[in-house]
Symmetry: C2
Amino acid sequence: MPDPSSPDDTIPTLQDVARKAGVSTATVSRCLNAPQQVSTATRETVMAAVTALGYAPNFGARALAAKRTNTFGAIVPTMRNAIFAEGLQAFQEELGAHGVTLLVASSSYRPDLEADQIRALVARGADALLLIGHDRDPESYGFLERRKVPYVVTWAHRAGSGRSSIGFDNTRAMADLTREVIGLGHRKLALIAGERGTNDRARDRADGVALAMTASGLDPKDLVLVEAPYGTDAGARAFADVMAAPRPPTAVLCGNDVIAAGALSQAHTMGLDVPGDVSITGFDDIELAGLLTPGLTTVAVPHRDMGRGAARTLVDLCNGQPAGKEVELPASITWRASLGPAPD
Amino acid sequence: MPDPSSPDDTIPTLQDVARKAGVSTATVSRCLNAPQQVSTATRETVMAAVTALGYAPNFGARALAAKRTNTFGAIVPTMRNAIFAEGLQAFQEELGAHGVTLLVASSSYRPDLEADQIRALVARGADALLLIGHDRDPESYGFLERRKVPYVVTWAHRAGSGRSSIGFDNTRAMADLTREVIGLGHRKLALIAGERGTNDRARDRADGVALAMTASGLDPKDLVLVEAPYGTDAGARAFADVMAAPRPPTAVLCGNDVIAAGALSQAHTMGLDVPGDVSITGFDDIELAGLLTPGLTTVAVPHRDMGRGAARTLVDLCNGQPAGKEVELPASITWRASLGPAPD
DNA sequence: GGAATGAATGTAAGCGCTTACATTTTTCCT
DNA sequence: AGGAAAAATGTAAGCGCTTACATTCATTCC
């Protein structure tokens, strides 16, 4: 008597289903991919066989034969904090509505790793890719062009890049914020920037600060600029450094909210009142920004719109629309308590 | 004159590399997968051809032929906050050390979606799976057994489950914390639990509170228990509800740090002093807990140890080790300022 | 009633790769 | 130098699926 608990020890294939339903593999395949081409009667027989056998198509084989996977990939610099979480979520939701699955990889802000991930995702059959920022080895772009894999660059806007992109103007957003800071009487500013060498957003944001200073008659040379990896610890350390100066700044702008959270925490540790003694601002407006005390004044970026727009762009590109459309979305300032007037 | 900018319009295959290098496809394949089997000279020729052509292996074809992908999958309830981020990071790092790639999917805390994701990841060729918690449709377990896909259950320990697992005792951890709370004189407790219906961790933690109350001579019936989805908004709302009672609790235990962050934020809004008027505790000890004001007293769970251990377990399982090993890791309490003595 | 039409199904050729097995080349003894 | 063992390489059979094309069968129309 056979063991009833293991109905059939092997993984069922299309072949098995076809045999069981008494049809050809082609018919089974059609039942699964283009049901309207199959008569109702056969379809029912086949589907019955499918469920009876617990059949699930082999993705690799399908991809190999069909040359598409209905899978898009996204490569984000980090998944350790929420910076990209909201945008990704929206991206995924929109993709889901189009029957597309999302694969996510993270590059840890390392260009070399990102290049690997691009290849890995493409090798895995990603039909299209979401990328963060414009900065990357031309070879990576070349690779994607050669393989004709559509991609969209997000989180940044660079007019005339020639690449499909959807993002906001990091420079302008940071300049806007800086203008407000200066408008509150701050003259001695510091910026804890992200690592500009490999990160165009960090670079753009730093440029924004300089731009606004110049526009307001301040000398950008007077900006105290330090770089820190995007992390609270690094943010805290950088803040401590900046404030250790003989004549410390009255406002510390941070390259993102995570750095700002670290800075704020360090301010508490140092017994500094924010914004009484020093103002702190962030960038990104992630949920964290509103949970801190005081709440972080920060740049609200269009997370969800970027995610959703990127998804639509990619779907369009896969349907043969020409690449190169550059969408610029607005960013705004979210006012909370961490930014106040400069102390006298 | 041919266009030099598009060297060859098609995607190079193993075949192409073999032709260019003047060897057989088998040799190329070996160069890529078992270099030590190939003589140095040929290897160099082949690798040169690989780079010259910009060859990248087709993952689907490889999976199809080799019947394994060196890819593991993880399905987490959410990626919107950092609850699982730290553990996943450690998981990924350890996998990387073993040459395994990680694919992540999120189920949004929905059992039906999780079941889909399990099938999707397996169809995509995941060699093994990391799962969070024990609760899920037996059919999902059946599916994995049938396909012989190794998996490990994490974030929870259930003795005698018969499944490979690595986690901590949610009940005991929450009981430990509750005991401390009671020890500080709190008699009127509230718990904002996660949704217990589909979440064994939430259920276990709630049990832990009841257990500790009984052990301390309190009647668990007196516990004010509300459920909330894991989110700050929901946490804030639940906290407001709980505190609206005629005789509000002096300590509000939260099912996780995110709920607690919402509760704390709501306390600020309501002008309540924490812990002067009411104590608040969290669970998970994510980075956020230390950034809030006051810092959150919470249960520190072994994020990284679980992630790393899960990776090792899975690698072992893939190498034929028998399943069923249950590892229990300790959790501890991280003391910060949000928990204080009960007000008189 | 029979030809023309169209719907439903089947046949079979790959998709790009791995690997068991066969063959050739090199190495190292005696 | 001769030959056995070891190392390097080649041959070719699939892996599970899709799809162009061929075939069969039921309609429809004159």
